[in-house]
């Protein structure tokens, strides 16, 4: 099986979760309040009170078959708004 890690702004989280659902993933987990640095600069929690939010880390364990559909739904969002997505192998315990 595969493990997909997505890190992106909390503002786009809903759209990404919809894409994950649409791709047929059996589930996902979300960690909010993630800070970080990427090509678009530094993201902190300091502006949290303003609704700007920080990043979210989404983990999806799924079959490899789902990856193409996942890529198709998510890549345009990451290209437009920023964020990263990586895949690795993982086996049930």
């Amino acid at each position: 099986m595969k493990r997909v890690d997505l890190i992106l702004s909390e503002r786009e989280l809903d759209a990404v979760l919809k894409a994950i659902d649409a791709a047929g993933a059996p589930g996902y987990s979300v960690i909010k309040h993630v800070t970080g640095k990427g090509p678009h600069g530094w993201v902190s929690e300091a502006m949290d009170f303003s609704g700007l939010g920080a990043n979210a880390h989404v983990i999806v364990f799924c079959e490899a078959e789902i990856l193409p559909k996942l890529r198709e739904g998510i890549q345009p969002l990451l290209d437009y708004y920023g964020g990263v997505a990586y895949v690795a192998d993982a086996e049930p315990l």
Binding site: R11, A46, M47, D48, F49, S50, G53
Partner: protein
């Protein structure tokens, strides 16, 4: 100009706590107000200011200066982004110019609240309908900003159709700060009209605590604003000058309108502060979502790192002096 106004403002608890936050960052203290505590204070301030405004609005009603003032405020939130955009377009691309312009058309609730506190220490009265003006200036500025983007940068945005105007309008009109402010205002109105027993029971929370909570929140705002100073290098001299001069210009326009409307000095100061302040809450969140091409550090750093401290520290007393000069002396 009355320099003692500046001093009185500088030495009030809210502004002193703002300074303390700034100093914490400058000297490298690890003082921080961890998330989501600032959110608690910002929600509280919006709720309390809306509720109090609603109570007062119920007493003043919608007659007299109320509707003209609110109309003028909304007009300013439409016009300011337009001329700001023209100025900014000389140096920035359409995306950044539109995002910064929207920021300056909108308002800063915390600056408004600090101005109210200043008026209270000056024992100058002001009216609840100014909170309605505050609440109604955020959405138009956001919408004008987005119109400017679509007009000025269509060819650079192949998926402009994909901008989903529905989502944009919802973000402009229903974002949490506008929603909570307007909602609390309406609740204040209803409570004042139909269940006056609720007023005194809310008072310790929504009224008595207000000044201290504002001071605490400004401690955090000082920290956050000072952290933005580093980003200002990226902004450059033009934008830094813009973020001081544009508020001053808007203040002058505002005071003339206030004179035309026949506002008293308290309401006039608040009107000027609405014109002169820039949003770092609702607008940046909306721009980040709808104009991701713009660089957030440009519009956030100027509104929060320059204009906000400028207004809080010297702007408010300067505008007060301006109001005292321009408004006809009370009979």
């Amino acid at each position: 100009m009355d320099s003692s106004l500046i001093l009185q403002n500088l030495l009030s608890p809210p502004v002193l706590f703002f300074f303390l936050g700034v100093i914490a960052v400058l000297v490298g203290s690890d003082l921080e107000i961890p998330s989501p505590l600032p959110k608690l204070f910002s929600l509280y301030l919006l709720l309390a200011i809306g509720f109090k405004g609603g109570l007062e609005l119920q007493h003043s009603g919608l007659g007299g200066q109320v509707l003209p003032t609110i109309g003028a405020a909304v007009a300013m939130s439409l016009v300011v982004p337009l001329y700001s955009f023209l100025v900014l377009k000389t140096r920035f691309d359409g995306f950044n110019a539109a995002a910064i312009a929207a920021t300056y058309g909108s308002i800063s609730a915390v600056t408004f609240i600090t101005a109210e506190s200043f008026l209270e220490t000056q024992k100058l009265p002001f009216d609840g309908f100014m909170v309605a003006a505050l609440a109604l200036m955020e959405s138009p500025a956001i919408i004008v900003g987005l119109l400017l983007v679509t007009l000025a940068a269509p060819q650079k945005r192949p998926d402009a159709a994909g901008m989903r105007w529905g989502a944009v309008l919802r973000e402009a009109c229903l974002n949490s700060s506008v929603f909570l402010l307007v909602g609390s205002l309406v609740i204040g109105l209803l409570v004042a009209a139909y269940s006056p027993a609720g007023i005194t029971k809310m008072e310790p929370f929504s009224d008595k605590l207000f000044y201290g909570a504002l001071s605490f929140f400004l401690l955090d705002m000082g920290i956050v604003a000072a952290q933005r100073i580093r980003d200002l290098r990226q902004a450059g001299a033009f934008l830094i000058a813009f973020s001081v001069l544009m508020p001053l210009f808007n203040a002058v326009v505002g005071v003339l309108i206030a004179r035309g409307l026949g506002l008293g000095p308290g309401n006039a100061l608040l009107f000027v502060v609405l014109c002169a302040s820039a949003s770092y809450i609702a607008v940046p969140a909306a721009m980040r979502m709808t104009v991701p091409e713009a660089n957030p550090s440009l519009y956030i750093s100027t509104a929060l790192g320059v204009t906000f401290p400028f207004n809080i520290i010297v702007g408010i007393p300067i505008y007060m002096a301006l109001v005292n000069t321009v408004l006809p002396a009370a009979p």
